[in-house]
Symmetry: C2
Subunit: 445 residues, 2 copies
């Protein structure tokens, strides 16, 4: 499928250059908006505006829904404000809200004032972008509990909801509070005259508009929901967040965790220009200079020892490196399990005991191995003892800080992944050198 | 919701101890299977069998669907084989196939022989567990193109598909080849006498049974599908993979990538017993001993230089550590973008140029900073020059190997994440020390 996109991109470019617009329209409208979005992005930049001109307002709306955030912003910026309103009207209103969110306030008001879906989109603008209220859509179908199944079907036929979100139908009581939920399948397979009250489920899992998007995704995944209703404090239905949102959030948050551990910004890509990447990646590497300076300072304090017993320097990378890698394993595990909801702050003690025990075990095994290596290699049994002991101590430090750093960041209400890898290697370097060089100063020199 | 689970666990434990079985049954059957699964797992181990006895075959089937793989295996192991067949009959057949997959072949045959859904489950056992054929379910609804919309609804009412997968209905031609797809919503809102041929979509995105589950998840996410049909070479529908599968795969694969970079096994958890974790984590740390030995060997070769100019040892952690962290950033980025389908092997040249350019840029900036620090601190300008130059060279190595290691693993058809962090730090350590100590030997001593 996607290899076709490459070929099609070339064809579209040729058609646009040859001004064969009718053929171009025909080709473009025959492909899926997801592929259109990829094609668009691979077009020569000077042809992009002509490509956009091929699409109807509806086509543009679909394209924008499938573009990445940054690409979308670029397209919106160049679009005349009058056509923007028409395009936003034809879009899922959660995406429309995201786009309006990123406009300057005065422009936002101007565009909204000419939109026919303004009443549906405006409430979405009130909520934080990463909250349930920010990712929800208003495209839900509400029914009343006394309706018969067949009448509900007739109602749907009249109303023609064009949203795929009609998977669940929400049932309201007399004062419009969320009372139950029925799936379209249940409605269809029920005997025609059954009142909805009898087929609906009353245990509706719902969230408030301020709930974090990660929590919404977790609930959708845990309970295998297709959609999650968002209600206000009076249980009035504000909108729904869908499984599509959840999938996007899960993927995003996993990327964020991976990137943050190593000090990368979440929006980084290898295809960004060098200048953009440099601006993003350098700050963390500068933090890394400071932590490296701390490690260097520690070594500097023991220069005398190293000058006397250079062999001790041979084991610096071993003690620090093995400790660092063991600690990074712990950090990765703890960060990921916090993200998956498998570790909560109340589990801190248990996690700490487990990881320090693991550190002790690794420390004993690696201490013996590395100590024996040092003894045999440098023919110096006190050096072997010192290296082994330093390794043992550094593994304990690695287990302890591998658990404490992400849990501590979480306790401070920061992201548990935040540059935690850089912080951890700072700790295992500084203390690793301290143990090794300190013990060497006491016993070997 | 989940805090309630903790409270309920205590209540259930008390009821079971007091043999108040009826009350226990009532309480347990009132909660969602996802919560039952969590509750079950938090029960005192000696109460677990009595808990399982509270559930009907259907209840057990739901519970098993929501348990993690390892927990599920433990429950299945203790279950009498006769009741296992009854439970598997009541389960989504993709999960039933997973369970049967893990039984010894003779037992599998015995259980299958008493299952009433054996004909549906057996074909699923033929495919690899991580392929489309392995994760698909046979619970789909097929229609014929000439049926009217209203007749299709009547047919559904008769057939009573109890699967939520009835979101899409698949349309077959005369020889049972997949011809189109129609969503339940389209069917419901269509005028009653419209033939399905007129409302169905003919562009059905489908995969073969051997397609990797990651590719299925990517297609589902890219095209925002609710389900993806799996067809054989004659386009006969074998089953469907659903958005639930895709979500699980996306989450699993992200975890796997994160863990593999640092040399952790994918199934690791902080709550596993120390002995299990040790067995899993140690092999990679042993590989790490070998790579650390290589770094130590490099330092050992320059012991003479270090003995003469101990100050040079102060900058060993800086040159190696900053290079390692920069390289890990690149690796993380490349691994993740390969996983998200944003980088293919054909992009290798572009990725390499970008990351080596970034390495050069970082090398210049950090080389100057670190070089100036070394000069000012140790009052030795040749040392400053040597440290700066070593930093520059190591940053180039970091950029190059950060891109080449995952792309190379991919080219070898291995997992691009496979212990790539450990390999990378080995390269930046060994070469970092070589540059620093080698240049110091030439110019400083």
């Amino acid at each position: 499928m996607e290899q076709d996109v490459e070929v099609m991109t070339k064809t579209v470019e040729e058609l646009l250059r040859g001004e064969a617009l009718e053929e171009a329209v025909e080709l473009v409208s025959s492909i899926h908006p997801a592929d259109q979005a990829e094609l668009f992005w691979h077009l020569e930049p000077e042809l992009r505006q002509s490509f956009l001109a091929l699409l109807s307002a509806e086509g543009l709306a679909h394209l924008l829904e499938y573009l990445e955030d940054e690409q979308r912003a670029e397209v919106v910026e160049k679009m005349p404000r009058a056509s923007l309103a028409r395009v936003l009207d034809r879009m899922n209103n959660d995406v429309a809200a995201d786009i309006l969110h990123d406009l300057p306030p005065s422009e936002r008001a101007r565009v909204l004032s000419t939109m026919s879906t303004a009443t549906e989109v405006t409430p979405l603008l009130e909520h934080a972008e990463e909250s349930a209220g920010g990712i929800m859509t208003r495209g839900f179908v509400a029914l009343h509990a006394e309706m018969a199944a067949q009448d509900a079907i007739t109602y749907l036929r009249l109303r023609q909801p064009n949203v795929e979100e009609a998977y669940y139908l929400y049932v309201m009581d007399a004062v419009n509070r969320l009372e139950g939920v029925v799936s379209l399948r249940q409605l269809v397979v029920a005997p025609p005259h059954t009142p909805i009250r009898e087929i609906m489920s009353r245990d509706v899992i719902s969230v408030g508009p301020e709930t974090d998007q990660e929590e919404c995704a977790r609930l959708i995944q845990r309970y295998r929901l297709r959609a999650l209703p968002v209600v206000d404090e009076d249980r009035r239905l504000l909108g729904i967040t869908t499984m599509d949102d959840a999938m996007a959030v899960i993927s995003e948050e996993a990327t964020e965790d991976m990137y943050r551990i190593v000090g990368l910004p979440a929006q980084e890509s290898v295809f960004d220009p060098v200048t953009v990447s440099a601006r993003r990646r350098l700050p963390w590497l500068f933090l890394n200079i400071l932590t490296a300076l701390a490690a260097a300072g520690m070594v500097n304090a023991f220069k005398g020892t190293i000058a006397q017993v250079a062999a001790v320097a041979v084991f610096m990378p071993m003690v620090a490196g093995l400790g660092g890698n063991a600690g990074i394993q712990t950090i990765t595990l703890v960060v990921r399990e916090i993200a998956l909801g498998e570790i909560e702050l109340r589990d801190a003690r248990r996690v700490l005991i487990k990881e320090v025990t693991m550190g002790l075990l690794k420390g004993i095994i690696f201490g013996v191995v590395v100590g024996l290596v040092a003894w045999a290699w440098q023919v110096n049994w006190t050096l072997g003892l010192v290296v082994g002991l330093a390794m043992l101590l550094n593994m304990l430090v690695a287990g302890f800080s591998g658990a404490v750093i992400p849990l501590g960041l979480r306790w401070l209400r920061l992201d548990p992944a935040l540059a935690s890898g850089i912080l951890l290697t700072a700790v295992t370097d500084v203390l690793g050198f301290f143990f090794l060089l300190g013990l060497a100063t006491l016993f070997v020199v």
